[in-house]
């Protein structure tokens, strides 16, 4: 069973539907016990970093996410959920992240050519630098759906894939049992479902 952490950020309808579509039992949950009992945990998120960070701690679920990470079970952060895994974000000020991955979150603006639209919105090709893991069913150059204005930088030690948007933008990361993708697998059609399937096949800790 996969727990989708519901801490009041964003719309989890598509994510739970996409897990159902690949035959994975999933629970959208605010219950720390259920997160502890799950084999895998997904940390979703859209919106602003500071707001999401505050809601995660106010929901009382930050501890459950950190325990899941520590227990060795697979943890997947999606979009802003991935950004929360890093050390710090510079979105409207400076905010501490969960510190599960090395690197910082900072704006695309100033790091990509000025003529490119922001947000980075649409389907972009994955350039896979470390195959396997959640990318094991995805081919080099396959497109996935992105929508973000901030990105993770300085995360070379966990980098699995980038997408070219005037600069190589962090697309997927992994260190140990901690996984992240900047794009939305639940909105990325076949490629996205293949990524979720690979994640749901990861063994994980004791049930």
């Amino acid at each position: 069973m996969t727990a989708i952490v519901d801490y009041g950020v964003g719309n989890l309808f598509s994510l739970s539907s996409s897990l159902a579509a690949i035959g994975e039992e999933a629970a959208v949950t605010r219950d720390a016990g259920e997160i502890a009992a799950a084999q895998r945990v997904i940390l979703p998120g859209v919106g602003a970093f500071a707001d999401a960070r505050r809601k995660l701690s106010e929901s009382g679920l930050e501890g459950a996410v950190l325990s899941a990470a520590e227990s060795g079970k697979p943890l997947l952060g999606i979009c802003l959920g991935m950004q929360l895994l890093f050390e710090r974000s510079y979105e409207y000020g400076e905010h501490a992240g969960l510190g599960l991955l090395r690197g910082v979150v900072a704006p695309l603006a100033g790091r990509i050519p000025a003529e490119l639209p922001i947000p980075h919105m649409g389907w972009n090709a994955l350039s896979i630098v470390r195959p396997g893991g959640i990318l094991k069913y995805v081919s080099q150059g396959e497109c996935v759906y992105f929508v973000h204005s901030y990105a993770a930088w300085g995360c070379e030690d966990s980098l699995c894939a980038t997408a070219e948007y005037g600069a190589p933008v962090t697309a997927a990361v992994q260190r140990g049992n901690i996984y992240g993708c900047q794009f939305h697998p639940e909105k990325s059609s076949r490629a996205g479902l293949a990524i979720l399937r690979a994640f749901c096949e990861l063994g994980g800790g004791p049930c």
Partner: protein
């Protein structure tokens, strides 16, 4: 590099897909979930649903149709039509929409854009503008293209982007339904004024019109059309093959 998006647009009335030509003469086309599955299978990059009913019963049927689409189709879904409050945003987001487009609702109360962006994030708020030339100037029209608001289009769009709209759909009333190609001068004017993605709408008649769109206005992120897809005049796989052949990057 990021791909150019091809977006079929589905107008929905009482839970069924329709398409107006110049916003009049609606025709019943198909079941939303079936049409959505068809387009997704063909390689559509995103779908837009406009609810053109206003009745409570029509809204309920629309919500049911949208939920069914979102349960089975895993590409981005944008919903518009009759969005005039945060409650309206909430209503369609709960049914599985990823982005919500505002048009007349934003004209009535521009703070809706700011409030929605604050609550749901900029990426969720799409400004849709129906634009028509009046005395040689681009003007914004409201209520499905019926009312001249007197607003200058580029200034209006810039204002909404500064309030938090994360994407803009520019629908040219002058070219809509004519099938003579997209309104390149209008799109160029908007693209050079804002830094968010711009979606072109109104005027597509054949695959070549999309080639001219992306060549003529390289800054445009996506092309949107309805009837040419619904009636099979342009098939998305053939359209993408032609774009690719002309050196335009699209998702396979």
């Amino acid at each position: 590099m990021i791909t150019k998006r091809i977006i079929p647009c589905l107008g929905v009335r009482d839970g069924r897909v329709v398409k107006g030509v110049n916003f009049e003469g609606l025709r019943d086309v198909s079941d939303p979930a079936r049409l959505a599955a068809h387009y997704s299978g063909q390689g559509a990059d995103e779908l837009v649903f406009y609810d053109i009913t206003a009745s409570a019963e029509g809204r309920r049927l629309f919500a049911d149709a949208l939920r069914e689409v979102a349960r089975t189709i895993f590409i981005p879904l944008t919903v518009g039509g009759g969005i005039s409050s945060l409650e309206d945003f909430d209503r369609v987001l709960k049914c599985g929409a990823d982005k919500v487009s505002v048009n007349t609702g934003a004209i009535r109360d521009p703070s809706l854009v700011r409030e929605a962006a604050r609550r749901y994030g900029d990426q969720c708020v799409v400004l849709s503008a129906d634009v028509k030339r009046v005395d040689g100037r681009f003007r914004v029209f409201a209520r499905g293209g019926r009312d001249d608001t007197g607003l200058e289009a580029v200034a209006w769009i810039k204002k909404c982007v500064s309030l938090g709209a994360g994407e803009v759909v520019v629908n040219s009333i002058d070219t809509d339904g004519v099938k003579g190609g997209f309104d390149l001068p209008m799109l160029e004017a908007v693209c050079s004024a804002v830094d968010v993605p711009v979606v072109a709408s109104g005027g597509a008649g054949c695959a070549g019109d999309f080639v001219e769109l992306f060549r003529g206005v390289p800054r445009v992120s996506a092309g949107l059309a309805a009837s040419i897809f619904h009636f099979g005049e342009v098939e998305i796989p053939a359209l993408k093959a032609e774009l690719r052949e002309k050196g335009i990057n699209v998702r396979s």
